[in-house]
């Protein structure tokens, strides 16, 4: 009994409820005529699509910058990379590689400036990051209209001005990772091997980095800045590094997302990326100050699982579309829980 109670308090009640809820959804699915195979397939696809963006939370949490509400900056870098790659007319693997490379380059630049800014506002990062993210989205909206793009797939036809709100990547690099070595089992289940491999690769890179010398220094800078400074670590440099790393992961993440989704969403698109990613890592067991790769995997799977399963299962049971409301309550409730939780002293 004691051990159960300890497990509950360690793992967090909301997390357990969400996990049980997801299991319940999968169990209930066949009874309401929802195919488990296709649900699982969808869940895995979404897991791969969103994973790297959730991973982008990890470096910043480690260095003590809190939850990365500034994810839109990375997303914008990714959008720039993707649109420029299409503008250059590159198709297939070359196009995707160019998009990713350009995205990473832009992200490094933006992340550097953003990191410098966050160093000067220690303690207030999260709120400022939110609004820096929002204002850069609207600034870029002006950019999408003004920037001199030419490609006919992207620019509005006759009367319009600037880029379209959604751009199809079908003729360029649609599902290029998803289809790489994809395994099809039965009629309804597809395992997007390439995309999952990309996610695992990125996760491995983060894991290695965190266990290298500079990674440990970064974690030290986050958990105890005064101690880190005393042991000769340049705290500000570590924080900037983590922000650049996070932003680059965000940029890569959105490019992977786009190739699976099939569309690039400009203008207000990036608004909807941040909260799901923040919520996912928190559901996985991370807190405002602590996060691991395992949190990312577990959290992304649970959160995306619920997003996939609620529309189909709940709607067939209740005959009404509650999924949007459940999404809002679960994701924001999770963030709220993390923000108000008293951090437990390590045992």
């Amino acid at each position: 009994m004691e051990r159960i109670r300890e497990f509950v308090s360690d793992f967090g009640l909301p997390r357990i409820i969400i996990a049980l809820f997801l299991v319940l959804l999968f169990v209930a699915a066949p009874f309401v005529g929802v195919s488990v195979a296709s649900s699982l397939s969808n869940t895995i696809a979404r897991f791969g699509m969103n994973g790297i963006m959730v991973l982008a939370m990890v470096p910043m949490i480690h260095s003590g910058c809190g939850l990365n509400f500034g994810l839109p900056l990375g997303v914008i870098a990714g959008l720039l990379g993707a649109t420029i790659s299409i503008e250059m007319g590159l198709v297939g693997a070359a196009g995707f590689a160019a998009a990713a490379a350009l995205a990473l380059a832009f992200a490094a630049l933006l992340g550097y400036g953003y990191g410098k800014l966050l160093n000067r506002v220690k303690g207030d990062e999260m709120m400022i990051a939110t609004y820096v993210g929002f204002s850069s989205i609207t600034l870029m909206s002006i950019g999408w209209i003004v920037l001199p793009y030419q490609s006919p797939t992207m620019v509005w036809g006759f009367e319009g001005e600037g880029l379209r709100t959604t751009i199809s990547v079908e003729a360029f690099w649609d599902k290029i990772l998803n289809d790489f070595l994809a395994v099809r089992i039965g009629e309804r289940f597809v395992f997007p091997t390439g995309m999952i491999l990309a996610f695992c690769g990125a996760a491995l890179a983060v894991w290695f980095f965190l266990h290298l010398k500079s990674g440990s220094a970064m974690t030290a800078a986050g958990s105890n800045p005064a101690y880190a400074r005393a042991s000769g670590i340049d705290v500000d440099r570590m924080r900037t590094g983590s922000v650049v790393f996070s932003t680059m992961l965000g940029a890569l993440g959105i490019v992977v997302y786009q190739q699976s989704f099939g569309f690039i969403q400009l203008y207000e698109g990036p608004f909807s990326m941040t909260f799901p990613s923040v919520a996912a890592i928190l559901i996985g067991g991370a807190s405002v100050t602590k996060a691991s790769i395992a949190n990312v995997f577990l959290g992304t799977f649970l959160f995306q699982g619920i997003l996939t399963m609620t529309p189909s299962v709940i709607n067939s049971v209740l005959k009404t579309d509650l999924s949007e409301v459940i999404r809002i309550i679960v994701s924001n409730g999770m963030i709220l829980y993390a923000l108000t939780r008293k951090t437990k002293v390590a045992k």
Partner: protein
């Protein structure tokens, strides 16, 4: 003397910047001044009350109350019910206020409890709480209303039989407060009754600052540790500040919507928080300091920009869409910049007071968290 002038300039940098932007934008937009003046007078009545609701939490050191959207939701629930019961005119507005009062107080209490568990990050927590409650609000309005809560008017229900429509026409209460007493000066219509309500609110805030509770709030805002030591119930005081703020936001939203005349059921409240906060900051307030003049100046400047920028953008670059994005960029950007500036200033103050403790040459100003509300 010179440094004093510099300080004055720095303190009012945001206001001056906006005056400059607007001074350039008005001629470009080529809008008639009389139209602008009427627009601003209307919008002052519509929005000032909402912005006033932000003052108390700032005084209590809780920053900008992003949780004010909770109050706005409460007000909307009241208006939906009043519309359903077909209570019209000023009595409809009053009844809506009465129904939503307990809802707003309850939500304010919840908000205060949550913020007490997140001291030091009240703003981001309040912001997320707003989103969370939006989910609960949708559950109530989109599903429970018409299913569990009886709604008699089919016109405001979705065609499926439950859930409120996206747009509710508030025809019964439309502008009933504004039109109660209209005075025309030089061809401009002034909604005097609304102005009187706002003035009464200002008077209340001035009076409240002098009461025991008001003084306690200022003490809590300046230093929680000192306030605790002098026997002020800090947590309770903070909850009171948020409850009053939520209640005022609720009344503010009712005033706002009776002027507009249509309720955008699922969006009206979402923008309330951001627009009110942006307006307050543009008026020269900061996270730790906000006054009634800031509110008035902010509403006037923010809404001048609001009215002028799309047209100015269109005339300047030939794209109204661009002006719209520019307006959004300014709203978000101004909040970001204010938060950054405040954070820098606080750090500089802490450094200066530390220097002073060491016996350095810096003036012993101490952390300036003055609660001039």
């Amino acid at each position: 003397m010179k440094s004093k002038l510099r300080l004055l300039l720095i303190d009012n940098a945001v206001v001056l910047l906006f005056v400059a932007i607007i001074a350039v934008a008005i001629p470009i937009s080529a809008m008639p001044l009389k139209y602008l003046a009427q627009e601003i007078l209307t919008r002052l009545g519509r929005n000032a009350f909402l912005v006033l609701a932000l003052l108390l939490p700032v005084m209590a050191g809780m920053g900008l109350n992003f949780g004010m959207v909770l109050g706005a939701m409460a007000g909307q629930i009241g208006l939906i019910l009043v519309t359903d019961w077909n209570v019209v005119g000023i009595s409809g507005v009053m009844l809506a206020a009465i129904i939503s009062t307990p809802v707003a107080l309850g939500l304010g209490w919840v908000c205060g409890q949550v913020l007490n568990r997140a001291k030091g990050r009240e703003m981001v927590t309040g912001y997320i709480l707003g989103f969370f409650m939006n989910g609960i609000y949708q559950l109530l309005v989109l599903y429970a209303m018409g299913m569990l809560i009886p709604i008699a008017t089919p016109g405001i229900l979705l065609s499926r039989g439950y859930g409120i429509r996206n747009m509710v026409d508030l025809i019964g209460v439309r502008q009933s407060l504004d039109k109660l007493l209209v005075v025309t000066v030089a061809g401009l219509k002034l909604p005097v009754a609304t102005y009187l309500v706002i003035a009464a609110m200002c008077a209340f805030i001035v009076w409240f600052r002098g009461t025991k509770l008001g003084q306690d709030m200022r003490a809590v805002g300046q230093d929680r540790a000192v306030a605790t030591a002098s026997g002020i119930p800090v947590e309770r005081t903070r909850i009171m500040a948020i409850m009053i703020s939520t209640l005022l936001a609720c009344y503010g939203q009712i005033i706002f919507l009776q002027n507009l005349g249509t309720l955008n059921t699922y969006n009206s409240h979402e923008q309330t928080g951001m627009f009110s906060i942006a307006a307050l900051l543009i008026g020269g307030a900061s996270v730790s300091r906000a006054s009634i003049p800031n509110v008035i100046a902010g509403v006037v400047l923010f809404h001048l920009m609001f009215v002028v920028s799309p047209i100015a953008g269109k005339n300047l670059i030939g794209s109204a869409q661009l002006g719209e994005f520019f307006r959004q960029f300014i709203s978000y950007g101004i909040i970001a910049v204010s938060l950054v500036l405040f954070s820098w200033k606080r750090k500089a103050d802490v450094a200066a007071s530390r220097e002073a403790l060491r016996g350095g040459s810096a003036p012993a100003s101490g952390p300036s968290k003055g609660g001039r509300a």
